[in-house]
């Protein structure tokens, strides 16, 4: 099983990690995704049998307003409901529970009804838009030394998802109205310029991070 292959303890032992996991992370800056993230740990905690074996790519974010004011913490992940899938098909959102601050899963959304955009690359911000029109903005929270790389993985992912749906592999595409949305067009322009560059980076980064490369070549 997948999780058995993942390193169970960080170098130096989990006992030396700070309560927020930062100490562990600092020891392995080159591989932020080499060990299960908070969302994955939450799903492994035993309360979500059905979701526990999903391959997941996740990051911690700050939800911000369109103008960048901080709203709250969010952990977002993409997951594949079957390991055989070429690309993830689910978006998972989690955040601190009101009563105790522990991470809690808020929702699971088929990616075919969600669109991801780069909102502000210089601030590592993504825009997440549901087919129902609901949208929100997320700013990546990651150590400075890995932030660009981690954001790059999300950018690559959103392109791959978009290509995938553009090829008609996903039903409901015709019902989308993203492109008619003025704001999205802006986003679209922002991103198109980076496209080639991103694709080129892919191979190199896949080598740097074997764990993630197993996950959809991010």
């Amino acid at each position: 099983m997948k999780r058995e292959q993942e390193p169970k303890t960080a170098p130096g032992g989990a006992g030396e990690a700070g309560p927020d996991g930062m100490a562990e992370r600092a020891l392995v800056p080159a591989c932020p995704k080499g060990r299960p993230g908070r969302l994955q740990l939450h799903l492994l905690s035993g309360e979500f049998d059905q979701l526990r074996d999903f391959p997941i790519f996740e990051s911690n974010f700050m939800q911000v307003t369109r103008l960048g004011e901080v709203v709250n913490k969010v952990t977002m992940g993409v997951a594949a409901s079957s390991p055989a899938l070429e690309l993830p098909d689910l978006l998972l959102l989690a955040g601190p529970a009101k009563e105790n601050g522990r991470l809690q899963l808020f929702g699971l959304f088929p990616l075919q009804f969600v669109q991801l955009f780069v909102h502000d690359e210089s601030r590592w911000q993504l825009k997440v838009k549901f087919r129902t029109g609901r949208a929100f903005y997320l700013q990546l929270r990651a150590p400075p030394e890995t932030r660009d790389r981690e954001f790059g993985q999300w950018v690559r992912l959103l392109y791959r998802l978009r290509f995938h749906s553009a090829q008609g592999a996903v039903p409901f595409t015709q019902e989308y109205s993203w492109l008619e949305d003025e704001e999205d067009e802006e986003d679209q322009e922002d991103e198109d310029g980076d496209l080639m560059e991103r694709e080129e980076l892919r191979d190199m980064e896949a080598r740097l991070d074997p764990q993630s490369s197993e996950l959809w070549g991010l």
């Binding site: 989990a14 740990l41 808020f106 009804f113």
Partner: protein, 216 residues
């Protein structure tokens, strides 16, 4: 927070009947007047006390709209309880109950406790489905029945809690095998950690997981 059992619930029924509002009223004691169409599944959780036992309800609020249905169906599996909801002011939502019920029975355990809910009982003047019709449908299909209002909170607690009581009763009667995960019931963390030294009481299986950092 420890609990004796965790029950997985699903909330199903046509779009707009008030599934998400029922969940929000139960977990947050709030009402949301705008219809925020659910896509996929949204989660809620709350502790309840049944017979002096702490029970955690893990609630999967599913999308009612037809285009999402084939996807959400796959998450019915392993539910111990289901709230099957219709809107007392819209007869078509009542007419669709049979198809929801078929779906639920097909995709989940046969022991699943199903609570039929006629929601929006505050809109008496616009009532389109008589209470007796709801009762009759429930009787015919072996469901529990209640009318609720997610707006006024009337019977909302009761709907969730009575479902839990019924599941708990079935466990005590030995009708549910609590060790079979497919039944949607889990034994709480403190009940099974006897020798292992988990870092936190709420983590059931300390072998698989590191210290949950709570909030980072």
């Amino acid at each position: 927070m420890t609990y004796a059992y965790l029950f997985k619930y699903i909330i199903i029924g046509d779009t707009g009947v008030g599934k998400s509002c029922l969940l929000l009223q139960f977990t947050d004691k709030r009402f949301q007047p705008v219809h925020d169409l659910t896509i996929g599944v949204e989660f809620g959780a709350r502790m309840v006390n049944i017979d002096g036992k702490q029970i955690k309800l893990q609630i999967w609020d599913t999308a009612g709209q037809e285009s999402f249905r084939s996807i959400t169906r796959s998450y019915y599996r392993g539910a111990a309880g289901a709230l099957l909801v219709y809107d007392i002011t819209r007869r078509e939502t009542f007419n669709h109950l049979t198809s929801w019920l078929e779906d639920a029975r097909q995709h989940s355990s046969s022991n699943m406790v199903i609570m039929l809910i006629g929601n929006k009982s505050d809109l008496e003047s616009r009532r389109d489905v008589k209470r007796e019709e709801g009762e009759a449908f429930a009787r015919e299909h072996g469901l529990i029945f209640m009318e609720t209002s997610a707006k006024t909170a009337c019977n909302v607690e009761e709907a969730f809690i009575n479902t839990a009581k019924e599941i708990y009763r079935k466990i005590q009667q030995g009708l549910f095998d609590v060790h079979n995960e497919a039944n949607g019931i889990k034994i709480g963390p403190q009940q099974c950690i006897s020798t292992s030294v988990g870092p936190s009481a709420s983590q059931r299986n300390s072998r698989d997981i590191g210290a949950d950092s709570g909030c980072c």
